[in-house]
Amino acid sequence: MKRWLSSGFCVLLLGLALYPLAGTGYGIRFMLQLFMWIALAQSWNLISGLTGYVSFGHIVFFGMGAYTAAILIAKLGWPWLLASLAGGVGAIVLATVIGWPCLRLKGPYFAISMLGLNEVLRVAVSYFEGLTGGGSGLSLPSLYASVAIYYSMGIVALAVTALAYVVVTSRFGLRLMTIREDEIAAEAMGIDTFRYKLYAFLLSAVGPGIVGGLAARDQSYIEPVSVFPLIMTITMIVMVLFGGKGTIWGPVLGAVLLFTLQEMIWSRFIYVHQLLFGAIIVIVVLFMPRGILGVLQQKYNLPRTI
């Protein structure tokens, strides 16, 4: 079983690597965005799925990465790949500043702080017009690099998933899950909970930061409203919950299913999008808290690493 799965996975990766040779423009864009969502969902899972600390503003790291990269590209002429990596660094810096005060305390403080942070950064970006272009946004010199961005996004998605695998199967991951199940017990067992929560938070910020930089390059134009949207955080959360929080492949499964559905069907029902997402969150939390993958794992007695 395991050999079949891993060889299937290799074939899939090979197919994805060769896809730009044959794919249409639309197909490449579709896959590029799917990779982006996998990276985002997987990152949210690292902090919220594993430690149980809900981040209601995770897209703030995406926005931070987007602005860091866009400013470096537009004002300093950095190459976009390097600028996107710098976006990841920017996201880590922001995560340190916010995680330091907020992760010392229990869940609700962190959750609401993240909800507020997103709004504040959006206001701040509009306010410092000299650097960010304010509300009218920031344009990047045009560049046709869809295929290069496709590979970059794909590598980030793969890297974040590999990171999730390493974390979940390590002692570090066990500590995080202990914090989720019972933080006081974790502390009593000698786990420095604050330190590990902060590590998990920093790891969860890198991916969105880099992806934000790549997305900024891909769209060539960013503005405060387009890179700090609450709906993107909601989408990440729904993907992870639906697929199975705290698992390695749950976020990937959730991202693939939901993003495909969204592209095929839901884009026609844009007005009830949030209602639908809200309903999914409520239903999953109440009736299927382990998500699709969790249910499958339990039913077929699969190992935790699947």
């Binding site: 330091w100 403080y109 507020g116 306010y127 209602l275 997402f277």
Partner: protein, 283 residues
């Protein structure tokens, strides 16, 4: 100038205190942070708007409708959804109320459209010596004080109120004493939502009404609770007044655009320096 700012701050603060007391009550009794508190406030504001639009009902009289109505909505939310996650890890209740919150906002967009609405009532200001205060704010403050006082008298003096406080101190002991904890939870959620609704009705006269107006109140109410000390009900009053004052003072020196950022920096500072709040609460 300073006097004007201080009094404006206290006027706004009384309203914050009332709305935050609602959130704090639910948090204190159930350990559930109701992320949909702000959207419930928005529903209160819309109820007032439509009653004014259709029936010409005085916005302040509409409190008699919005508060009982949202009391029922709150009880229903507790009964249908929140009850099932009270004992689950915080993750569940946060996500659940978040899901409810975005669903409510989307429903409001569908039902009421995203147009900005306003209740054209009681414009103009009271002028008193060198000061001038908009009438709607002064009256909102007066109502907030009356409603908050009533809520406190209920919690302090009545048997039911004492039962609510007992549950928030220790659920097990309260249960042993024969208090129906499930009923108290419903009651607390109902009262909390009614306080949010009162806030909505009162701000309906002052600001533009739109489906996304509520979220910022979830954040500010939470900030007020943190300032005052979580689970400490008088602390919510102090926190509310303080937030009102600080916002007004900051608007003296900065543009009003960064108001929200000031509140945020304040939250982070309090969490760093004194996470239990000014009056001691439970962190």
């Amino acid at each position: 100038m300073l006097g004007q700012v201080v009094i404006s701050g206290l006027l706004a603060g009384a309203l914050y205190a009332m709305v935050a007391l609602g959130l704090g009550l639910i948090f204190g009794v159930m350990r559930v942070l109701n992320v949909s508190h702000g959207p419930l406030l928005m529903l209160g504001a819309y109820t007032t708007f439509w009653l004014f639009q259709w029936l010409g009902l005085n916005p302040y009289l509409s409190l008699l409708v919005t508060m009982p109505l949202l009391f029922l909505v709150g009880m229903a939310l507790q009964r249908l959804f929140v009850r099932r996650v009270v004992d689950a890890p915080e993750l569940s209740s946060l996500l659940l109320t978040f899901g409810v919150s975005i669903a409510i906002v989307n429903l409001a967009q569908l039902a009421f459209t995203a147009d900005l609405r306003s209740v054209e009532y009681l414009t103009g200001s009271f002028v008193w010596g060198p000061f001038a205060f908009s009438k709607s704010r002064v009256i909102a403050c007066a109502f907030a004080i009356v409603i908050t006082t009533a809520a406190f008298l209920f919690l302090r003096k009545t048997r039911l109120g004492k039962a609510v406080r007992a549950v928030s101190q220790s659920r097990e002991v309260a249960q042993v004493c024969g208090i129906d904890v499930g009923r108290i939870h419903m009651l607390a959620f109902g009262i909390g939502s009614a306080l949010a609704a009162a806030g909505g009705s009162l701000v309906a006269v002052m600001v533009a009404i739109q489906p996304e107006m509520g979220q910022v109140y979830t954040f500010k109410s939470f900030l007020v609770i943190v300032l005052g000390g979580a689970g400490n009900y008088p602390g919510a009053l102090l926190g509310g007044l303080l937030l009102g004052l600080i916002e007004q003072l900051s608007s003296l020196f900065l543009t009003t655009q960064v108001n929200e950022a000031v509140a945020y920096v304040l939250l982070v500072l309090v969490l760093l320096v004194r996470p239990t709040g000014l009056l001691k609460g439970r962190a």
